[in-house]
C-alpha cells in the first residue's frame, strides 16, 4: 500500500483505521486517505493544504482549526455546497472540489482582487454602490455575486430523507471533554438519567488531542479511565457525532446528528462546551500552513497526520511548549518558539523544550508570514521584538518553515450559555473570561466557565453534576470518578493583545469575511462604536464562523479604539444556530395532515380532480383537467335539470345539547332560536364582537334541548373553540361537542332527488307536505341511520343526508345505485360554487372579508332585534347608525361580451377602487357571466359598474337584483 507522506503510525490517529484505505477525488485528482479521515486530514496526509479561496479577496486558505469552525475549509461535495472539509468524513469515491475560484484552486485569476483591497474600505457596500440609482441591481450585484460566491446549489439535488425525534432526559451534558465527562458521572451517580452529547466521534474532548504533562501520558490514561467508567454506567446515554446547535426556552435543545434533529428536552442542563483557541493577528496570518495549536494537535492525535516538517510556534504560555513537544515527538523539526511574554517562571514544559535545544525568543512575535509563490503555502516567518502593546520593534530573525502553530489564547465556547441568557465577563487583569447570569437550571463546567487547568476543569464538572442533581432533589452517592491525582498540569493563558498591525495590512481578524485590523479601527472612526453596529457595518462575525475566531480580537480592537474595557464592549448577541444548519434538517420529514372524506376513493375512481381546502381534500369536478369547463357545466346542469350528488362531508358539525341550548345559540348567533320548532332548521349567521361576519350554517332542532348545527369547513374548529370560550365565562347549562368527523354527508339535489331518495329511504314520508323545505328528519337510508336536512344552498329540491362517517362510502354507493337509472351525476365543489352563485348565496370567507358586516351583504334580515344580547350585537347597533361605504352587489355580463373577469379583479369608480369581485363564473343555466363584488353602497340594480381586468382593460357589468336564478325560490320548495 502506498503510504501518504505525512501519515503517522498508530497509535496516533485514534479516529482513523490505518488498515482501511479510502479513495476519493479532490479537484479531479485521486487521493487515498483512511477510513475515519476527514477530507482535510486525508488531504493533509497527502501534503495538500490548500482547500479554498476566501470570500472577498480570493486568498488561498487551508486548515485552520481542524474543528469545522470557519469558512477556510468549505468545499463542494457533489451536490452539497459549503461542506466543512475538516468535519466531513471521506467515503469511497467522494467527489470534492474547491469553491469560489476562477481557473484553478492553486491559480485563482480572481485573486488579483486582493491587490485592490485598499479600494474596498470597510462599509464599501454602503459607501460605493448606492449611486447612481439602479447601479446596484443592474451592475454591482451580479459582479459581486460572481466573485463572492460560496458553493453551488444544484436545483436537481436528489431528495434525501431527514427527520426529527423527541428526546428527554433529567440532565443533559453538552460536551464530552474532561469537564463534561466528570459532570456526567457525578450527575449519573445521583440516579439521574443523564445524556452526554459530544460533537466529535469519540468522548474525551481535549484529552484526545491535548497534552497536559511533559511525558504526554496523563491525557490518554485519564481519558481511558473516564470513558470506561462512563460506558459502564447504566444511567448515562451517550450521543457522539451530535451537535447541540442552539438553546431555546425551558432547555429545549436541537441536537443534530446525521440526517436527524433530536429535539431534546432536559430538566437540568450542564454546559461543558470547552473553549475555542483564538488566532493571533499579524500580516498574512491566514496563509495555509498557519494553524491554531490545537488544530496541529488534532491532526497528530486524532488523524495521525504530521502537520508539517519545519515548525515555528507562536505562544504566550505553556500551551505552546506542550505543542512543541508534540511536534518534536512526531518528526517535526521545531525551529523556534516565539513567546509574546516579557518573562515568566520556568515550568517543566518550558524546561523540557529548552533541553531539546530549541531556540526560544522571549517578548517576540511573528511580524509577518511569507508565502511560496507557487504553492501559496507558508514558507517563512519573520520574528520581531514586541516593543510595546501591539507594536513591533527590531527584527530578530527570519525562519524558513512550512508550519506555524499559534497558541496565544482561548475564549470559552460561550454561545449556548449566552443564548440562554448568560453574560460574558472579562477580567482585565488576567484576560480570562467567565459567564454569569444563567437561569437556575443551567450549570457551567470546565473551560466554558473559564477554568484553565485540567484538575480544576474536572472538579468543576463534578460540582456542576452535583448541583444539577441537587436541583432534581437527588444526592450524589458512590465514587465512580477516576481516582487520578493530577500532577500540577500547566495553566492555559490568554494573552491580552496578540495583535500586531502591519504597514501593508492583511492582518486578518475575520477569515470568513476577509476583515483586517484597520477595517475595524475605521469602523469605529466612522462612528460605529457599539459592537452590534461595528458588526453590521463591517460584516465582522457574520460569516460561517459567527465570530468564533473574531469576536475576541474585535472586542479588543473596539475597546482600545473607544477607550473602554473588553467587558464593556462585550460580544455580539449569540443566536442559534451555532453551526451552519441545513434547511432540510429544520424541515425534517414535514408532516402535512390530510383529511379525507369517507367517499374520497370513490371520487378518485370517478376521475375527480381533487383540490385542497384547509386540510381537506375535495373533488373539484369529475373528469380530465383539459375538460374542466365542460365538466363543471355538465355537473351544473345535472343539478338544475335532473339530479346530482355532492359530497358535503367536510361541513362542520356540532351538537349543542342541554337546557340552555337555545339560549346559547341565541347568544352565539345573530338570529333567534328559542322559538324554533323541533324538526325544523334555521339559518345561522355568526358575528364576532366587532360585528363582522365570521361563519354561517344551519341549526337543526332535533329536540327541545338538542340542536345539531353546521359550520363552514374552514371555520368549524374556530367556531367550536370560540363557543367553549364564551361558555367558560357565561357558564350556561349546555354542552357543545364537535362531531364533524362523525358524519359523512351528501347533498342529493336536483328536481329528481326525491325520486331517487325514495328508492332507498322508505321509513319516512318524503313528500313536501310532510317533509317540507327547511325541515329535518331522522330516517334510514339504504339501511344506514341518517339525518335528513332539506336545505337550499344551490336552490333546487334537495336533501342533505348526514350518516355516520364509517358508513359514508356505503351511502354514496347506494345513492349512485339508486339514481343510476335516473342519470344521477356526482357533482364537485366547483359546480356547487357556481350553483350557489346563481342563487346569490354567499360563502363566508370568499364573499366576506375581515370587516364585512351583515348590512354590507344585505343580511340585516338575519339579525334579531329582540334578543337582550348576542355576540356582536352591541357593535352592530353602532354600525347600523353609520352608512357603510360599500355593499355586495350582483352583476351580469353577456357571455359574448369580451373577457370574463376573475375573482379579486378590482371594481372602480372613476379611478378610485371601491371594491373587488368575490365570486364570478359563467352560468350555463342563464347563459351569461354572473358574479358578486363590492361596489359603492348606493349602487342600484340597473346601473353598471367598471371592472378592471387582469389585462388592465376595463369591463362594464350590469348590476342586477340577486338571486340571478329562480328569484321566487320555487324550485327548492318543490
Amino acid at each position: 500500500m502506498e503510504t501518504s507522506p505525512n501519515r503517522l503510525p498508530p497509535p496516533l490517529g485514534m479516529l482513523v483505521n490505518h488498515d482501511k484505505p479510502v479513495s476519493f477525488r479532490f479537484e479531479s485528482s485521486q487521493y487515498t486517505g483512511l477510513a475515519g479521515d476527514t477530507i482535510a486530514s486525508a488531504l493533509a496526509a497527502n501534503d495538500t493544504w490548500l482547500l479554498s479561496r476566501s470570500f472577498k479577496y480570493h486568498r488561498p486558505r487551508g486548515v485552520f482549526s481542524m474543528a469545522g469552525l470557519e469558512a477556510n475549509t468549505l468545499v463542494q461535495v457533489g451536490y452539497e455546497p459549503n461542506v466543512a472539509a475538516d468535519k466531513r468524513k471521506i467515503t469511497s469515491g467522494l467527489e470534492v472540489t474547491g469553491q469560489n475560484y476562477s481557473g484553478s484552486l492553486a491559480n485563482d485569476r480572481a485573486a488579483k482582487i486582493g491587490l485592490a483591497s485598499r479600494f474596498f474600505p470597510v462599509g464599501f457596500y454602503y459607501k460605493t454602490f448606492f449611486q447612481p440609482s439602479g447601479a446596484w441591481q443592474n451592475f454591482w450585484e451580479p459582479i459581486i455575486r460572481k466573485y463572492a460566491g460560496l458553493g453551488q446549489v444544484h436545483l436537481d439535488t436528489p431528495r434525501k430523507y431527514y427527520d426529527k425525534k423527541y428526546l428527554f432526559c433529567d440532565i443533559a451534558v453538552i460536551g464530552g471533554g474532561p469537564a463534561g465527562m466528570s459532570a456526567a458521572l457525578s450527575a449519573a451517580n445521583s440516579g439521574a438519567e443523564v445524556l452526554l452529547v459530544e460533537q466529535e466521534a469519540v468522548l474525551g474532548g481535549s484529552l484526545n488531542y491535548g497534552r497536559f504533562d511533559t511525558d504526554g501520558k496523563l491525557a490518554p490514561d485519564l481519558r481511558d479511565e473516564f470513558v470506561a467508567t462512563i460506558n459502564n454506567h447504566s444511567n448515562i446515554g451517550i450521543m457522539t457525532d451530535a451537535a447541540c446547535n442552539g438553546w431555546f426556552a425551558d432547555n429545549w435543545l436541537p441536537i443534530i446528528r446525521g440526517h436527524r434533529m433530536y429535539k431534546l428536552r432536559t430538566k437540568e442542563l450542564i454546559l461543558a462546551t470547552g473553549k475555542m483557541e483564538q488566532p493571533a493577528i499579524f500580516h498574512n496570518n491566514d496563509l495555509p500552513g498557519i494553524l491554531l495549536g490545537t488544530a496541529a494537535q488534532r491532526l497528530i492525535r486524532l488523524y495521525g497526520v504530521r502537520p508539517g516538517r519545519r515548525a515555528v510556534i507562536l505562544t504566550a504560555g505553556d500551551d505552546g511548549y506542550a505543542m512543541a513537544l508534540d511536534l518534536l515527538e512526531n518528526g517535526v523539526n521545531v525551529v523556534a518558539v516565539a513567546d509574546l511574554r516579557e518573562s515568566f517562571d520556568a515550568t517543566p514544559m518550558y524546561e523540557k523544550v529548552r533541553s531539546c535545544n530549541i531556540p526560544v525568543h522571549m517578548a517576540c512575535t511573528v511580524f509577518e508570514a511569507l508565502s511560496d509563490k507557487h504553492t501559496c503555502h507558508l514558507r517563512a516567518v519573520e520574528l520581531r521584538k514586541v516593543a510595546s502593546r501591539g507594536r513591533c520593534g527590531n527584527k530578530v530573525q527570519c525562519y524558513d518553515c512550512d508550519l506555524l502553530c499559534i497558541s496565544t489564547g482561548f475564549m470559552p465556547a460561550y454561545q449556548l450559555a449566552l443564548q440562554a441568557g448568560g453574560r460574558l465577563v472579562h477580567d482585565e487583569r488576567s484576560s480570562m473570561f467567565s459567564i454569569t447570569g444563567l437561569p437556575a437550571s443551567i450549570h457551567l463546567a470546565g473551560a466554558a466557565n473559564g477554568e484553565n487547568e485540567l484538575g480544576a476543569e474536572i472538579e468543576s464538572g463534578r460540582r456542576a453534576g452535583r448541583a444539577a442533581s441537587k436541583k432534581l432533589g437527588l444526592t450524589v452517592s458512590g465514587h465512580a470518578l477516576p481516582k487520578q491525582v493530577y500532577p500540577a498540569s500547566y495553566i492555559s493563558t490568554n494573552h491580552p493583545w496578540p495583535i500586531f498591525p502591519h504597514p501593508r495590512g492583511k492582518e486578518f481578524l475575520d477569515l470568513d469575511e476577509d476583515l483586517q485590523y484597520l477595517d475595524i479601527v475605521h469602523a469605529c472612526q466612522d462612528g460605529y462604536t457599539e459592537l452590534e453596529l461595528v458588526k453590521r457595518y463591517s460584516t465582522i462575525g457574520m460569516g460561517p464562523s459567527q465570530g468564533r475566531h473574531s469576536a475576541l480580537a474585535t472586542a479588543r480592537v473596539v475597546a482600545s479604539a473607544t477607550q473602554r474595557t473588553v467587558s464593556e464592549v462585550g460580544v455580539t448577541t449569540a443566536r442559534p444556530p451555532l453551526h451552519a444548519e441545513k434547511l432540510a434538517v429544520i424541515a425534517g420529514r414535514s408532516f402535512k395532515p390530510k383529511r379525507l372524506t369517507a367517499m374520497h376513493n370513490r371520487h378518485l375512481e370517478s376521475g375527480a380532480q381533487m383540490i385542497i381546502a384547509g386540510m381537506w381534500w375535495r373533488p373539484a369536478y369529475y373528469g380530465k383537467s383539459q375538460h374542466r369547463n365542460r365538466c363543471i357545466c355538465e355537473e351544473n346542469l345535472a343539478v338544475r335539470d335532473n339530479v346530482g350528488l355532492i359530497d358535503v362531508s367536510t361541513l362542520g358539525g356540532l351538537e349543542v345539547r342541554g337546557p340552555d341550548a337555545a339560549e346559547f345559540l341565541n347568544r352565539m348567533y345573530t338570529f333567534a332560536y328559542s322559538g324554533q320548532k323541533t324538526g325544523t332548521l334555521r339559518y345561522l349567521l355568526m358575528a364576532n364582537t366587532a360585528g363582522t361576519i365570521i361563519d354561517d350554517g344551519v341549526a337543526c332542532r332535533l329536540d327541545n334541548e338538542h340542536f345539531y348545527i353546521t359550520a363552514t369547513t374552514g371555520g368549524v374548529d374556530n367556531v367550536f373553540r370560540t363557543m367553549l370560550w364564551w361558555n367558560a365565562q357565561w357558564r350556561l347549562d349546555v354542552d357543545v361537542t364537535n362531531v364533524t368527523a362523525a358524519y359523512a354527508g351528501v347533498n342529493l339535489v336536483g328536481p329528481r332527488s326525491r325520486t331517487v331518495l325514495q328508492q332507498v329511504c322508505r321509513d319516512i314520508d318524503l313528500t313536501s307536505k310532510s317533509f317540507p323545505y327547511l325541515a329535518v328528519r331522522s330516517a334510514t337510508v339504504a339501511g344506514i341511520p341518517a339525518r335528513l336536512l332539506r336545505v337550499g344552498f344551490v336552490g333546487e329540491l334537495g336533501y342533505e343526508i348526514h350518516v355516520p362517517s364509517l358508513q359514508g362510502e356505503a351511502l354514496w354507493d347506494a345513492l349512485l345505485d339508486a339514481g343510476h337509472c335516473y342519470g344521477i351525476k356526482p357533482v364537485g365543489i366547483e359546480a356547487q360554487r357556481l350553483l350557489r352563485l346563481e342563487k346569490g348565496h354567499l360563502i363566508v370567507g370568499q364573499d366576506t372579508d375581515a370587516t364585512t358586516t351583515p348590512q354590507e351583504v344585505s343580511m340585516a334580515w338575519a339579525i334579531s332585534k329582540r334578543k337582550p344580547f348576542f355576540v356582536g350585537g352591541r357593535s352592530l347597533q353602532i354600525i347600523e347608525r353609520h352608512q357603510s361605504s360599500r355593499k355586495l352587489v350582483g352583476f351580469t355580463i353577456k357571455a359574448e361580451q369580451g373577457d370574463t373577469p376573475e375573482e379579486s379583479n378590482l371594481i372602480l369608480d372613476g379611478n378610485a377602487i371601491v371594491g373587488h369581485i368575490t365570486s364570478v363564473g359563467y352560468s350555463p343555466t342563464l347563459d351569461r357571466i354572473v358574479g358578486m363584488g363590492y361596489a359603492k353602497a348606493d349602487t342600484e340594480p340597473g346601473t353598471s359598474i367598471h371592472i378592471k381586468l387582469k389585462s388592465g382593460k376595463l369591463q362594464f357589468a350590469q348590476v342586477v337584483d340577486m338571486p340571478f336564478y329562480d328569484p321566487e325560490n320555487k324550485r327548492q320548495n318543490m
Binding site: 366587532a690 367553549l724 357565561w730 357558564r731
Partner: protein, 91 residues
C-alpha cells in the same frame, strides 16, 4: 420551546396551546356608551408586567387562564377558568 402547564393535561410544549389575549371584563352592553364599547372592542391594554391571559389547549379545546409576565415571558401560574368565572352570567 417553552413549556406551559395545562391545568387539565399537565406540562406541554407551548405549540399545543393557543393564546387568546388578556382576560378583560366585558362592559354591560346595555349601559355602556358607544365610545366605551369601541374602546373595549379595539383597545387592548398590552400591559408590561403580570397579566391574566386566556389560553386554550388545542387538542382538548380546554380553556384556562394563565398569569404571565409579559416582560420576562415567565408563566407564573395557570388555573381553570372556573376559578375566575364562578357564576352564570345573564343579560
Amino acid at each position: 420551546m417553552k413549556i406551559m402547564k395545562c391545568p387539565l393535561n399537565g406540562p406541554r410544549n407551548i405549540s399545543e396551546f393557543i393564546c387568546f389575549g388578556e382576560v378583560s371584563k366585558m362592559p354591560c352592553p346595555k349601559k355602556v356608551s358607544d365610545d366605551e364599547w369601541a374602546d373595549f372592542i379595539w383597545m387592548s391594554n398590552n400591559s408590561a408586567g403580570v397579566v391574566q391571559e386566556w389560553w386554550c389547549h388545542s387538542a382538548t379545546a380546554y380553556w384556562f387562564i394563565a398569569e404571565r409576565n409579559t416582560v420576562t415571558d415567565e408563566i407564573l401560574k395557570t388555573y381553570p377558568a372556573s376559578d375566575v368565572f364562578t357564576e352564570r352570567i345573564d343579560f
